[in-house]
Symmetry: C2
Subunit: 479 residues, 2 copies
């Protein structure tokens, strides 16, 4: 099957979840709840999906008829999610072949990654039989795929709206964190595939698919060790020539590589080789999962940046000193505030308790016109290529007054006004303190900034690093 | 006044807050609320403090009699917090001298840090007059001091119990964040002084004081540019010879230095000079405020570490690969798991979905005996000098079941058991997702780990960096 036909695999019309729990205790089974939340059983929609739980001990599961095995399901099934033990997989695979299933996702683990020879042999036999029978495999030892346009998710809490970001991740946990937490800040996805041991569909197949997928315009990868071997780097080069590609490589240290071998039976390679190869391919390497999320978000909303000079309006003296240091360390420039702008801002800014420089510390409250005016004056100097607004929404205020949500709305309106009037790319920083109320407000703030395509960062360090990478993006192609 | 007499300044029996707000609208005035929360007006205690609000427009404030000026207060006052405009400070200072006030804290800003010559001259005149009149000054342009044993705090939400950590910070915002957020994780303080423009009491005075203070056994500093000039480095050397000292230097880049000049009128110096000088003094430099908080916390609970070999029990395959990479990058060693321990752990750990290596990914739930047994087997190998337990308390579980608090208590009990049975230093990692419920549980988890003197970190990166610094602490003295 050519790579572009993977698209068909990722548009199932009927899904069987084999191995739903027999007990109703404990938290809901994530695969099932994810599909229900995405609306997979909604038969009133134009593209109704059908969902079949499978467990021989149950007659219904979550209100749907439950079947003892695949053979008992009365209609065709395209996609099977397998959550039963490894030893039972060969029989399930025969049923898949009989029913004409296109794609089998093995959540099941306990194969090659254990280091056990008999288990590795079982995996090999399963893959050989699947190839002969025309069934493609995701995994084993992974959480499958998320594709909002096809209403498929492996877990609850994922955004329902699709977007431009395609992701391949050898770790299901990393992929879920990226989707859930990035989703709160506005990241939106075409297809996210966790591929585990990569015994059939591997990172090279998936990267080629995403590179040609018209719904994907930005690609993120978490790779431990590619199975595609030498084919991976040409595929990376080809993908990066068409679309921006960000790569997080896990297992770059000796201990990390040893761990990756046990995680997904991968050969992790050396840091130097990976670093050079990713750079030569025209992709961008990041150091951890937060950086991957940040850079995808910034790139999704801002594209590339044409310069590296930043204007920062901050909150608190110590914070703006830190902001300057962090911006410089990340590779940005922080030019001094021109005298005219200084004079202009001083007209409406008290001299005491402020710093009328760049970075600028203003006591203008974030929800005031003066805050917007400050950003506009700084952005209007011609001295900067982008703006960062560090919001300080007043933790103390939140605790004793009820006006926070109105203030958040007003602060975001000032950001929007400043962006429109200056025409500059703008990012926001908000550091939520470890307080439940603050995080409730963070979610509201994040939704509002996301709706305006303003990337929101939890620290100046993370904002500065992402923006510096946008400004230093490799040239060429459609990047 | 010799430095050790600063102790007297920081034990006021009566405090006047000059310039409490005339309006009851808005959030409560933090200075006043901080003092009330700490119990400063409690006349039934053995060391009753008396609190006097001053504002000529009010007869009472927050239920206490309010005075038009200092002269009208019927009893002696030791400490004055000044929150009135700069132009009114000289008259207040005369009143302080008349009443024999020991210490005047100028929250008031708008002096030298503005770059305005007349305002700088006003600051100089105030300091000269204070010296002649026997009044010491903190500030201007700072939030003052926090000393729980004397029931003084400049803001609400600070811990009431004292502890071993002394802090001097040129930024009040940084100091407040350190106290509040470090406080949640168990950091406890002797004296925290924010000193702003340092026009009288400066970082050298404060460092010497903390170096000799019997209640302080660990010192943290946030410095922009020392006023004490050449005296600072000898004071740092002396302090670091007596106690562990951690230094965060703000304004190490050109832009940061320019900003620091406007923040606290400081000359910030070059990175190379500071880096070498701090190292030569035997102190430890950190890169940002989070690192300062983390290292003080780790040092307070764990002291120095005798080796750099770490055993990590993790949560999720991608996470433990990342854990290995982060530990190595931070400078720790991650030795392989000896075969005997591997066999022992395999006896009670399923082979599927786990990684029985170091780092170790176990599906043993964190609140189970098997989780404690895993830590004990890893720690009992003799192959590691410390343990890190990365907790994954099940975000999904929290959303649908009510058992989280019991599980947190059980998980922490397993940590305590593992520490007792292995005799090894132990740190915990818990990454709270951006969810209000998760942060409510974070606070509970942090309180429980703090009570056991287990440092808790929000990421493996931060844990690894702090532990690596403990293992690499400069030798000599009482450090």
């Amino acid at each position: 099957m050519p790579d572009h036909d993977l698209d068909l695999l990722f548009r199932p019309r009927a899904i069987a979840v084999v191995g739903v729990p027999s007990t109703q205790e404990g938290p809901p089974f994530p695969f099932f709840r994810g599909l229900l939340e995405m609306g997979f059983t909604d038969e009133t929609s134009e593209a109704p999906g059908r969902l079949y739980p499978v467990n021989p001990k149950l007659s219904t599961y979550q209100g749907l008829p439950c079947y003892p095995d695949l053979r008992a399901i009365p209609r065709p099934v395209d996609y099977v999610i397998c959550a039963i033990p490894a030893a039972a997989v060969p029989d399930l695979l025969e049923q898949c072949i009989e029913k004409g299933v296109r794609l089998l996702h093995l959540f099941t683990s306990g194969f090659t990654e254990t280091g056990d020879a008999a288990r590795a042999e079982l995996e090999r036999r399963i893959i050989a039989r699947a190839r002969a029978g025309g069934v493609r495999i995701i995994g084993p030892n992974c959480v499958g795929f998320y594709r909002p346009a096809a209403r498929v998710a492996w877990s609850p809490g994922f955004p329902r709206e699709p977007g431009p970001v395609g992701v391949l991740s050898q770790s299901g946990g990393h992929a879920a964190q990226l989707v859930r937490e990035g989703g709160l800040r506005g990241l939106r996805f075409s297809t996210v595939v966790s591929y585990g041991n990569a015994s059939d569909l591997n990172e090279t197949d998936l990267l080629r698919y995403l590179a040609h997928d018209p719904d994907t315009s930005l690609i993120g990868c978490y790779i431990e060790g590619p199975r595609g071997g030498r084919e991976f780097f040409p595929a990376l080069r080809e993908a990066a020539a068409r679309k921006p590609v960000v790569v997080l490589k896990g297992g770059l240290t000796e201990a990390g590589a040893r761990t990756a071998a046990s995680h997904t039976a991968s050969l992790a390679g050396t840091a130097a080789v990976w670093d050079a190869a990713i750079r030569q391919a025209g992709a961008v390497r990041v150091g951890d999962l937060e950086e991957l999320e940040d850079l995808l978000l910034a790139r999704q909303f801002l594209g590339r940046l044409s310069g590296r000079r930043v204007g920062i309006v901050g909150a608190g003296g110590g914070n703006v000193v830190q902001a300057a240091d962090e911006a410089i360390r990340a590779g940005l420039e922080v030019p001094p505030l021109p005298a005219e702008a200084r004079a202009q801002i001083a007209r409406f800014t008290p001299i005491a308790g402020t710093i009328i420089q760049n970075p600028l510390d203003t006591i203008a409250e974030n929800w005031s016109e003066a805050f917007g005016d400050t950003l506009i004056a700084l952005g209007g100097t011609g001295a900067v290529d982008m703006l960062i607004a560090w919001l300080e929404l007043g933790w103390a205020v939140w605790k004793y007054t009820g006006a926070t949500e109105a203030r958040i709305a007003a602060a975001v309106a000032q950001l929007a006004r400043a962006r429109t009037e200056t025409g500059l790319p703008l990012a926001a920083v908000f550091r939520a303190p470890p307080d439940p109320e603050a995080w409730a407000h963070y979610r509201s703030l994040a939704a509002r900034t996301a709706a305006l395509r303003i990337p929101l960062f939890p620290s100046i360090r993370r904002a500065a690093l992402a923006l510096a990478r946008l400004a230093a993006w490799p040239a060429g192609g459609e990047r």
